[in-house]
């Protein structure tokens, strides 16, 4: 791990480091590192938000992915021809109205330990690098059982826990919101089921129904007395749990501490729960991916606009998705379709997923009182699990950066990385700097980088 980063550590981060056998190297004395610096540059109404938009099974293959893909003779409908301002390619065309930035030529450059075997698997390595900037965790990796976890938090949680992102004195109602759209799952456990990690073994499962997300965000507002009652109940539970920690081992202590942290966050909501913006209507659920994307997007955009949260992750389809796109005339699950080498079908599905991304971005185009759109204020990182599905190549791991980051992020730029400077974490670092978080590097296990993508920042 890089030691030049000076990121204050939450108590949980510290506990995790201790549980992992001191894997967290600290450049600062512990106590000092745990003190968060005061939020410096927040101005009301100008606070940027961050989101992850995830889609499954990467891109259609072309010769850029190398290997056998190079001889398949399929055109590259993703990579723009020019650096800088680019002419949208067929797959990027749905996103053109939003001035999305695209980085190509990125790939995981993290080490692949030989044992336990299988850690180079495209699904596992590509996913983990795209989401966390690190390789999968080796300690409990089991390829046969398709079981793996992360070594650290995913980029959305890294930002949500970043002391320069949220004012520690006034956190929003929800630190982050996780939602998902397609119900199809390769497995119902681990990262096959969720994309947002708090740390090893700790995933934030997505809310899958628009109505459930609505109820969570905008459900009945309570009277003062009921709020007081709930707060007293939670107080009592926390007091009752106070002496439990010492009965637990390190890993379970973290699980309990997380549970109690969540209770404290809920308790804070009962202290100040006045809603300051108009509530939307309760949505009627839909099974159509695009419609569900639109409903979820509207709720998220409203939540951000209302100051309920400033971080989200959005899982359109889950890793190695088995979703059957029969609306596109594809008879098999997406993952099998990729492996069976049906290029045209994979192209159609990818284009459909980019159209869904566009539908999602459209919900952030609401014009605000200052004349800007919500999208102008945020950064939305679009990513997938590998470069292409056919052979699981992680070359050309796709990266999109949408939004304006309050003017710090350029719009409509293509940058092509490659050679020795292809670490996928360049896109993470670019997002962090667009958000003004002060990070000078990002990435672990060989993926460390100090280089942002050229032309992306203003």
């Amino acid at each position: 791990m890089s030691t030049f980063k000076r990121r204050p550590l939450s108590r949980r981060t510290f506990l995790r480091g201790a549980a992992a056998g001191g894997a967290i190297a600290m450049g600062l004395p512990l106590l000092e590192a745990m003190l968060s610096p005061k939020h410096a540059n927040a101005q009301a109404g100008q606070l940027p938000f961050f989101g992850v938009f995830y889609w499954a099974n990467g891109l259609p293959w072309t010769d850029k992915h190398g290997g056998e893909q190079a001889t398949a003779g399929h055109p590259d409908h993703w990579t723009p021809a020019e650096d800088g301002t680019y002419t949208p390619t067929p797959l990027l065309e749905p996103l053109a109205p939003f001035g999305v930035n695209v980085a190509t030529g990125l790939r995981p450059v993290t080490e692949i330990p030989a044992m336990p075997p299988g850690q180079g698997d495209g699904h596992m390595r590509g996913f983990m690098v795209a989401l966390t900037g690190d390789r999968p965790r080796g300690e409990d990796f089991n390829h046969s059982a398709h079981y793996l976890t992360s070594r650290r938090e995913s980029i959305d949680q890294y930002i949500a826990n970043h002391p320069r992102f949220y004012d520690p004195a006034a956190p929003p109602r929800y630190r982050s919101i996780e939602v998902g759209v397609s119900d199809a799952r390769f497995h119902t456990y681990g990262h096959w089921n969720a994309i947002s990690y708090n740390g090893p073994g700790s995933l934030n499962l997505p809310t899958m129904k628009p109505s459930a997300l609505y109820d969570r965000l905008f459900g009945v507002s309570l009277g003062v007395e009921e709020n007081q009652r709930r707060k007293l109940m939670l107080d009592a539970v926390l007091a009752d749990a106070a002496d439990l920690e010492k009965q637990l081992g390190a890993t379970d202590r973290i699980r309990l501490e997380e549970h109690l942290d969540h209770m404290r966050a809920i308790e804070r909501r009962f202290e100040a729960s006045t809603m300051t913006c108009a509530q939307p209507d309760r949505p009627v659920n839909s099974d159509d991916l695009t419609e569900k994307t639109r409903l979820m997007g509207q709720l998220l955009a409203t939540a951000i606009n209302c100051g309920l949260t400033r971080v989200f992750s959005f899982m359109l389809t889950s890793p190695a998705s088995t979703h059957v796109f029969n609306n596109l005339g594809v008879p098999d699950g997406m993952h099998k379709t990729c492996h069976d080498g049906h290029w045209q079908r994979v192209y159609d599905i990818t284009r459909y997923q980019m159209q869904a991304f566009a539908t999602f971005l459209e919900t952030f185009q609401t014009t605000l009182p200052d004349g800007e759109t919500l999208l102008d204020k945020g950064v939305i990182l679009g990513l997938s699990e590998y470069g292409e599905g056919w052979k699981h190549s992680t070359n050309e791991l796709p990266a999109l950066l949408a939004g304006g980051a309050n003017g710090k992020l350029a719009r409509g730029v293509h940058a092509r990385a490659g050679g020795d400077n292809a670490s996928y974490s360049r896109v993470h670092l670019t997002a962090l700097q667009a958000l003004g978080l002060g990070d000078e590097s990002f990435g672990w296990s060989g993926g460390e980088t100090r280089d942002v993508l050229p032309g992306f920042l203003r």
């Binding site: 299988g118 799952r185 109940m233 939670l234 009592a236 439990l244 098999d332 069976d340």
Partner: protein
């Protein structure tokens, strides 16, 4: 025994997202494609890094004498089913069912997910919402409220309040409360009573208890055990037995036994376990185990094109799951027979849809009524692996998957490891738009790739045995005009087809040993450690001696040394 059974959905809410069974053929490949073809005898392919059985080798595990040692203790959070069963025990039926965070099933079992995953912030909110909804229902109904409280207190200082907290708290937390805890809950009541009324105060005490980690987690203190190991306390054993055998909290008999310091030796545990497996709750819990062990959840999201499979409707996969549940219940609790016959018996349970799919006469069957049928020798069906559930969930919408079917037999049923693939391999089968070939030919051609031969030599030959059955389990003589060849092999032994394979599989000692292993994992909430292998062998012997009675196996696991002792200081 009644001849007609009425179709009821399985107990508990259907889960949100059963892993689709449309696992890609090549997804299966992604889990193993290299090395030689020798299988370890004893390896489950799913082990922690702290154990040497972690699927890292394809050479046989040496039969060295293993020093017996218990594994670590794990802290499990209640699964959703356990939470709901606890609510029913505490308050009776007819409660509101607020959604809870879905359980996850790494290594097949919810108990392992319950021991390794963290609850999310949304999950904690759901615990709150659920507790509030349930307590509101109970306390808004004066009859229910009085029944629960055992009195009608006029004020929060009424002596019956402390009596209630003591009695009810012990049932919620599955342990007696300390005086300090009793005072704390009473103080909460006093605070609420100050801003509201006494009923709201009691409702709030109950609602808060239901959110306490003391209720939601099964924590472990332990006591000094034999040979420097730790042993679970009486109360811990009471809840271990109850959640394992009933998937529900301990009853008063178990709590009383714990209060008397029982459940600390094999004889005492045997007595209780034998009582418990005769309780109807054991029947439901056994169904829950089989659904996980056989991975039936995957049936839930099966999609099939109606034009291609006219006999398959959106309700068919639920009927397939019900058939397995009825068969399991029939063997274990009605006939009290050899559970291995699940894999060889010519009996099925069909509703009208399954009868049509199987092409059998089933008088009395309707969409919602299942009747037992005996498959004739001509029907080519014998055992679980020739029934709709297995055949459908291990196939693709457009074609079958010998690889997935073979992998299921090897991994789920025989606890064999399929090794991981090299890091960058060609996972492509010729797309079907090239010259027409049978699936078998395409797979065999694929095996010519040296990187893939290892895994495919393992998975495909047993999978070919089921080629007479299409992606929804319909029998077929031909595919695309070519006669089906259903010959195959399992680990070197050749078979002509699935019906010939069935008796060999059911009597294979690896099958029963693997069932022991899977049940042990389910019971423990973790994978076994090397030191537990002798304990598994001992359970296996008891299982065999009982004539493979599953009820006796439940008792044997409950009473085994590995279930009542643990390694101090070790975390999995």
């Amino acid at each position: 025994m009644p001849n007609t059974l009425h179709f009821k959905p399985p107990r508990g809410k259907r889960r949100r997202s059963g892993a689709l069974l449309i696992l890609s053929f090549l997804a299966a490949l992604a889990s193993g494609c290299q090395g030689d073809v020798t299988l370890p005898e004893n390896n489950a392919g799913a082990n922690t890094a702290s154990s040497s059985n972690n699927g890292t080798s394809t050479t046989p595990v040496k039969e060295e004498a293993i020093e017996p040692a218990p594994g670590p203790a794990v802290v499990m959070r209640l699964t959703e089913a356990q939470y709901r069963n606890a609510m029913e025990d505490l308050f009776g039926t007819g409660l509101p069912s607020v959604a809870l965070e879905p359980d996850t099933n790494p290594y097949l079992f919810f108990s392992i997910g319950a021991a390794t995953t963290s609850v999310t912030s949304h999950g904690v909110e759901q615990y709150l919402d659920s507790a509030l909804a349930i307590t509101a229902r109970v306390f808004d109904d004066p009859t229910r409220r009085e029944q629960l409280l055992g009195c009608a207190p006029e004020s929060i200082e009424d002596p019956c309040v402390q009596v209630f907290i003591t009695r009810f708290g012990q049932r919620v937390f599955r342990r007696p409360l300390s005086q300090e805890q009793i005072t704390r809950w009473h103080d909460l009541g006093k605070e609420i009573a100050a801003i509201s009324d006494v009923n709201t105060a009691l409702e709030s005490i109950v609602g808060a208890m239901l959110q306490s980690p003391r209720f939601l987690y099964r924590r472990i203190e332990g006591t000094q055990g034999p040979q420097g190991n730790r042993q679970y306390t009486s109360y811990e054993m009471a809840e271990r037995l109850a959640f394992f055998l009933w998937n529900a909290p301990p009853d008063q008999v178990l709590l009383d036994a714990a209060a008397n310091g029982e459940l600390q030796d094999r004889a005492s545990i045997l007595t209780h376990a034998q009582r418990m497996v005769e309780d109807p709750k054991a029947r439901a819990a056994t169904q829950d185990f089989f659904a996980q062990y056989l991975d039936l959840e995957r049936l839930e999201h099966v999609e099939r094109d109606p034009a291609r499979y006219p006999g398959f409707t959106p309700g068919t996969s639920a009927a397939m799951e019900m058939e397995v549940r009825l068969l399991v219940d029939d063997i274990i609790f009605r006939r009290e027979g050899d559970i291995r016959t699940l894999f060889s018996s010519r009996r099925g349970y069909v509703n009208s849809e399954l009868a049509a799919l199987y092409g059998v006469d089933a008088p009395g069957a309707s969409l919602v009524s299942f009747v037992p049928v005996e498959f004739s020798p001509e029907s080519k069906r014998a055992g679980l692996l020739t029934l709709g559930a297995f055949l459908t969930m291990n196939a693709h919408p457009t074609e079958t998957s010998p690889t997935l079917r073979g992998k299921y037999v090897l991994e789920r049923l025989l606890c064999q490891t399929v090794p991981p693939p090299p890091d960058d391999i060609d996972l492509n089968l010729d797309p079907s738009d090239t010259e027409p070939k049978t699936l078998r030919e395409r797979l065999i051609e694929h095996r010519e790739n040296p990187a893939c031969i290892g895994c495919h030599m393992l998975t495909d030959p047993p999978g070919f045995l089921f080629e007479h059955f299409d992606s929804v389990g319909v029998y077929r003589e031909q595919v695309d005009g070519i006669a089906v060849d259903a010959s195959g092999a399992l680990l070197g032994a050749n078979f002509a087809n699935a019906t010939e394979f069935a008796p060999a599989l059911s009597s294979d000692p690896r099958l029963s040993h693997c069932m022991v292993r899977q049940l042990y994992r389910h019971a423990q909430g973790r994978l076994e450690e090397n030191g537990e292998e002798p304990m598994l062998d001992a359970i296996d012997l008891e299982f065999a001696a009982s004539g493979y009675s599953f009820k006796d196996l439940l008792v044997a696991v409950a009473a085994s040394e590995g279930f009542r002792t643990y390694q101090p200081g070790a975390t999995p």
